[in-house]
């Protein structure tokens, strides 16, 4: 192991530090491997043939990896349908969130209007509510959407948006957190940008759409990634409003899959892998945005 030759102040602790690093690498690697073991074990189990499942001690490596558990989860476990549902729901929520929160964030950061501070505090206060407090009334509101799911004009006699895509999507759109995040980003842009456009007679929407938004791609990416990940992994809301098998999201399908059949660990781990892969791939591809977004939220003070 070599240590990069920095020019540094000669330090009495320098020699200790070399020893420290010799100690750190193995320890860190051990911790990192134990962090990964659950994921590796999930994949290994999912790829094992059924015949090898009950070997004691378990075979860590078999010669006959197979996709049979994945095909079973995919077809018989309906994970194809669950995955498609989750894709529709999460991409819709993400798209709508981007539109709704960037417009609002822009209004809070760049436009001059009365009551701006009051509204901003309202938005932030809503963000701080524990989601649970609204759970039951939101369920009743979604059930009472007029003229949907057999409801009359007053929202009675039917099921409204329960067990439907709009019911899964709309209550998760519009987060104060993303408004806050985008507002902070909009504030960093120079004021002259819009003033020039305003003098040229652009509408406020055009200023926002053509001048400001193109400069905000990194912040929008953070919002898109967080929003997609959050809605993909959401569980309690789908659990509460979804009744039919074909409307299940992948998380709900996974949780109920376990309770409905005798546990077949190979198939269950294959389903778990299917539920996990999309967000993990997103994270690995765009991890610098995740890190930036988390840093933005945590270091006020």
């Amino acid at each position: 192991m070599t240590i990069p030759a920095h020019v540094e102040i000669a330090s009495p602790h320098r020699r200790n530090q070399t020893g420290l690093y010799l100690f750190l690498y193995p320890v860190l690697s051990l911790v990192a491997v134990s962090m990964l073991i659950p994921f590796l074990w999930m994949f290994l189990t999912a790829l094992k043939p059924q015949a090898d499942m009950f070997q004691v001690p378990p075979l860590i490596f078999t010669l006959s990896y197979t996709m049979e558990n994945f095909t079973r989860a995919w077809t018989r476990g309906n994970f194809d349908r669950f995955l498609a549902n989750s894709m529709v729901v999460s991409t819709s929520i993400t798209t709508l969130n981007l539109m709704v929160t960037s417009l609002a964030g822009y209004a809070f950061a760049r436009l001059q209007w009365r009551l701006r501070e009051v509204f901003f505090v309202i938005v932030l206060s809503v963000m701080m509510l524990p989601g649970l407090i609204a759970l039951i009334p939101t369920f009743l509101i979604v059930k009472a959407v007029p003229l949907a799911g057999g409801n009359n004009l007053l929202g009675q006699n039917g099921t409204g948006w329960l067990d439907s895509f709009p019911g899964l999507i709309f209550p998760l759109v519009g987060s104060g957190f993303y408004v806050f995040l985008l507002r902070q980003f909009f504030l960093t842009l120079p004021k002259e940008l819009e003033d020039a456009a305003r003098i040229d007679g652009s509408s406020e929407f055009n200023v926002f759409w053509r001048i400001i938004l193109p400069l905000c791609k990194p912040a929008l990416a953070v919002v898109a990634l967080f929003s997609f990940q959050y809605s993909w992994n959401d569980f309690l809301w789908p659990l509460v409003i979804i009744q039919s098998d074909r409307m299940r999201t992948v998380q709900l399908g996974l949780a109920l899959f376990r309770t409905q059949t005798r546990i077949n660990w190979g198939v269950l781990m294959a389903g778990t892998a299917i539920a996990t892969i999309p967000t993990v791939v997103l994270f690995l591809s765009f991890q610098q945005y995740f890190v930036r977004g988390i840093a933005l939220t945590g270091i006020k003070g």
């Binding site: 209007w113 938005v123 524990p130 059930k143 993990v280 006020k300």
Partner: protein, 310 residues
């Protein structure tokens, strides 16, 4: 909803440019820009939160006629030992979870903050990986690891000559097992927030301390910890709020068992509201949860907006 009325009033299309009611061009634009957000927040957050107080004073259930019951639900809560048990379990989980999250997260952050450590970006990614995975998927994986007969944990214990443990199937070990899983799953988040905080501390302070002969331990206790206090406060507040609302792993792994050893407040709210359809009673429970977390939520709001021109 009275709160949105001013926005609507301003936003109502008044086609005469900038004239009438003293509304400026920017004000009209702002009203339209925040309208979608305010409608969504009003319909799905503000109205539900306020009306849950109303529901908690009724015997609302989807199936039978609704009757005003006043404080009956709240009085019933006092005698509901299962509710007290769930409060206790939530507190147990929180108290077990948070010190470990903070200490391990800080230790990892300090280690990975060193510029001389190779592969530190790789380590960060590995530690953060569980946080992008759903609680249900993680629960399934750990259910398998904790399996008393074929699970990896018992196989490892047996391999070094130790007896198998019942893990989630014992009233004693179920909650510690869930705490263990949560620390494994959450430590990467604490680590990243601490890392961001550490990068805000100037290297020069440490160099000055070193010149004055401070040991690394002294630097840690007298420089690092005090300067990270706002970060610690933020992590503490947000993770207490999060821990008190744990639900996914409980639902997916233990269903609150064995013998109610892991039933939490949110699990009770779910069971009462959506399994027994005692929605009035469940609303009362969620109001108690809200009041418990209110102080922390206000603290959180203050922390986020401190130093901002709100």
């Amino acid at each position: 909803m009275s709160i949105t009325t001013p926005a609507r009033g301003e936003g109502w299309p008044d086609r005469k440019k900038g004239k009438g009611f003293g509304i400026t061009r920017q004000e009209r634009a702002a009203a339209l820009f925040i309208l979608p957000l305010m409608v969504l927040l009003t319909v799905f957050w503000i109205v539900p939160s306020l009306s849950s107080l109303f529901f908690s004073l009724t015997n609302y259930s989807v199936v039978s006629a609704t009757r005003w019951v006043g404080s009956e639900n709240y009085l019933r809560l006092v005698d509901d030992w299962l509710f007290w048990r769930s409060l206790l379990n939530s507190a147990y989980f929180t108290v077990g979870n948070i010190p470990l999250l903070l200490v391990c997260g800080l230790a990892l952050a300090i280690t990975l903050n060193s510029a001389r450590l190779r592969l530190r970006y790789l380590y960060r990614v590995v530690f953060y990986l569980p946080l992008v995975t759903s609680s249900i998927a993680l629960s399934m994986v750990w259910l398998w690891l904790f399996d008393p007969h074929l699970g990896l944990l018992n196989l490892l214990l047996n391999a070094v000559g130790l007896p198998s443990q019942p893990w989630l199937q014992s009233t004693q070990q179920a909650m510690p097992s869930i705490i263990f899983m949560s620390v494994w799953g959450g430590v990467g988040g604490t680590m990243l927030i601490y890392l961001a905080g550490l990068q805000g501390i100037s290297e020069q302070i440490y160099e000055a301390a070193q010149v004055d002969g401070a040991t690394p331990w002294q630097s840690f206790f007298h420089i690092t910890l005090p300067l990270l206090r706002p970060v610690t406060l933020y992590v503490l507040v947000t993770s207490i709020i999060g821990s008190f609302q744990i639900f996914g792993p409980i639902y997916a792994m233990t269903q609150g068992g064995p013998a109610f050893a892991t039933t939490t407040i949110v699990h009770q709210i779910y069971i009462n509201g959506f399994r027994y359809f005692n929605m009035g009673y469940a609303a009362a429970q969620s109001w108690i949860l809200f009041l418990l977390l209110l102080g922390l939520s206000i603290a959180n709001l203050r922390l986020m907006t401190r130093g901002l021109d709100v």
